[in-house]
């Protein structure tokens, strides 16, 4: 073969590769990208159905209507009676701004469109769809409203859920925005430095502060050779960096339980070095930190980067929820749920069922176990300690008369200079009905003082009002 023929073959092979790359690309696009592209609000096809189908309503767990559509001038219009309250959960569905939140996630259900285009076509031939399905959420409207009120307009987030079933009772993120007034507010919303569009409950990453000690405690209990006693003098030096207790107060001779109850920083920093980052990281992984939480709304992953480069100072700092560890409020609610539920972490759910227009339940979402956070015995031990935190430790503001509450406070330092106030917990301790995570962003006060009372009010409401 002469060199021209060889070169011809080189060019031919080049062409074949080009065409094969086209085939690979189009297949890749169809498999991985198409779904997201289709849901872009500029896709006019999304709105074609909207002209002929009455979009379903969204209801709370007690069938209270939170969003509905009505015909107006030959066009269906979407109404949101509680403007701001569900901006991060239900989101919105407007031609101009597209769809977000559950409106996007459950678009097909709300319009009663089958996800398989072929089946959908055939279905349409038999009975053309004119009305969509309703969504019944796990949210309790009263509690949602109360929770938003408890934040008093401050930046922060609250997640309240059933630790056994995974049902979310309330999920608040402030600042929020008015979905029924997007047109007027859009410019302000999109330019606001406090980013009201972000759902802090699922996408806000915060230093967890002392609430993270729950996980350090789980890790400590899982380290058999660890000496659980310690003499606290109010400060300690690890790798040249000084860790101090709250207001430099020495706790004296303490064990693990007292350390958690009194939220002793020096205890956990010292012990975490002995526990080691691998063990700490494994516990964090089991509690879904570093992992994606499957949820109906977009989430960010919490992080405990133990596989990266962590020196001793980093390990010690992360043991008390500072340094490189960052969590979402939803993840902390799951941590509390895990302890409440004998170590089992269940999938958080927002949609209870999809109901057709003639009140038939089309689909209901059941409890799913996501992960075994820890074993039941360890969970029980940690639970006892957390009960003591509320009974006599930093979390006394969360106490409820006649009901045993378990919890942990947190005061997380951060770049802003003003600390975040945290409280995570659950009640009743014996038979948990509600797990809660509260964070007040840049509050500048302790979690015990400001976050714990909010959590208490929410727990009381759930225990008194939510029966099923």
């Amino acid at each position: 073969m002469n060199k021209e023929t060889k070169r011809i073959i080189v060019v031919l092979v080049g062409f074949c590769l080009m065409f094969i790359s086209l085939i690979v690309y189009i297949s890749y696009f169809q498999v991985f990208k198409a779904e997201a592209v289709k849901n872009n609000s500029y896709n006019k096809r999304l709105w074609i159905n909207e002209e002929s189908i009455l979009r379903g309503s969204i209801l709370d767990r007690n069938h209270k209507v939170l969003a509905y559509s009505e015909k107006k001038d030959d066009l269906y219009k979407r109404y949101y009676p509680y403007g701001r309250l569900y901006s991060h959960i239900i989101g919105y569905s407007y031609r101009e701004y597209g769809k977000v939140g559950l409106e996007l996630q459950y678009n097909n259900a709300l319009l009663n469109i089958n996800e398989n285009a072929a089946i959908n076509e055939i279905k349409n031939l038999v009975i053309p769809t004119t009305e969509g399905n309703n969504l019944r959420l796990t949210i309790d409207h009263e509690l949602q409203n109360k929770a938003r009120g408890l934040l008093k307009g401050k930046k922060g987030s609250i997640v309240a859920m059933n630790p056994v079933t995974g049902e979310i009772y309330a999920m608040v993120s402030l600042p929020d925005f008015d979905v029924s007034n997007l047109k007027e507010d859009w410019k302000e919303i999109s330019e606001n430095p406090n980013s009201p569009l972000v759902n802090r409950a699922t996408q806000g990453l915060y230093a967890p502060g002392s609430t993270f000690k729950i996980l350090t405690t789980v890790a400590a209990l899982g380290t058999p050779n660890l000496d659980k006693d310690y003499d606290c003098v109010g400060s300690t030096k690890i790798n040249g960096y000084i860790f101090k207790d709250y207001q430099g107060k020495a706790h004296g001779h303490i064990d693990l339980k007292q350390a958690l109850v009194k939220s002793c920083n020096t205890y956990f920093t010292e012990k975490s070095i002995e526990i080691g980052k691998e063990k700490m990281g494994n516990v964090a992984d089991k509690f879904l930190i570093n992992g994606d939480i499957p949820f109906d709304l977009p989430t960010k992953s919490s992080q405990y980067p133990y596989k990266g480069n962590l020196d001793k100072t980093d390990i010690a700092a992360s043991a008390i929820g500072q340094g490189k560890v960052l969590v979402t409020p939803l993840n902390m609610a799951l941590v509390a749920s895990g302890i409440a539920n004998g170590g089992e972490i269940v999938k958080p759910i927002l949609v209870k069922e999809i109901i057709s227009k003639n009140d038939k339940v089309m689909k209901s979402y059941n409890t799913e176990v996501l992960s075994q956070g820890t074993d039941p015995i360890t969970a029980e031990k940690v639970k006892e300690m957390m009960v003591e935190v509320v009974k006599s430790g930093t979390g006394t503001n969360a106490r409820i008369k006649n009901i045993e509450v378990a919890g942990k406070t947190g005061t997380a330092e951060n770049a802003s200079g003003k600390s975040h106030a945290w409280f995570v917990g659950f009640a009743p301790a014996k038979e948990p009905k509600v797990a809660v995570a509260v964070i007040l962003e840049e509050e500048g006060s302790t979690g015990g003082k400001t976050a714990a009372p909010i959590a208490r009010d929410i727990m009381i409401h759930v225990i008194n009002n939510i029966k099923d």
Partner: protein, 142 residues
């Protein structure tokens, strides 16, 4: 009614298009195999030694030999070579009891076997080089 047809037909169309592509690829594959077949299936053949590209006329890389073949400029020959130095009927190869013999057909410029001009029928062996005009063939008999 139309919708049902359209849905049914879209699958049929895809099947037809792929059958079409498949049958073309199969034909091309057969085509290539039939071209290469000479060198792999036939045990006795002539292989062109000259660079095919250097010759200004149609010639093939391989010619299989079954029984007798003749070479020449005339179209009646088994192997037609439009070389001006090749006679109308130049040489022939004859098979006899499994042996192959080369015989010159009174060509103007003669036939050479391994460099020597031949005057009589010569027995061919594997690896012999036959020259006629400006072309050289390798005789292969395995």
């Amino acid at each position: 009614m139309y919708n049902i047809l359209a849905i049914l037909f879209k699958y049929i169309f895809i099947i037809i298009i792929y059958l079409f592509i498949f049958s073309i690829i199969r034909l091309i594959y057969l085509d290539i195999r039939s071209m290469e077949g000479i060198s792999s299936d036939n045990r006795v053949y002539l292989k062109l030694i000259n660079r095919k590209e250097s010759l200004p006329y149609k010639i093939k890389e391989y010619y299989s030999i079954d029984k007798n073949i003749t070479l020449g400029r005339n179209n009646q020959n088994n192997i037609v070579v439009k070389d001006p130095f090749i006679s109308k009927k130049h040489f022939q190869i004859i098979e006899d009891e499994g042996e192959y013999y080369l015989e010159d057909l009174n060509s103007a410029n003669g036939t050479h076997l391994n460099g020597d001009k031949i005057f009589d029928a010569m027995q061919l062996e594997d690896g012999d080089i036959i020259r006629a005009g400006q072309i050289e063939f390798l005789f292969v008999n395995r």
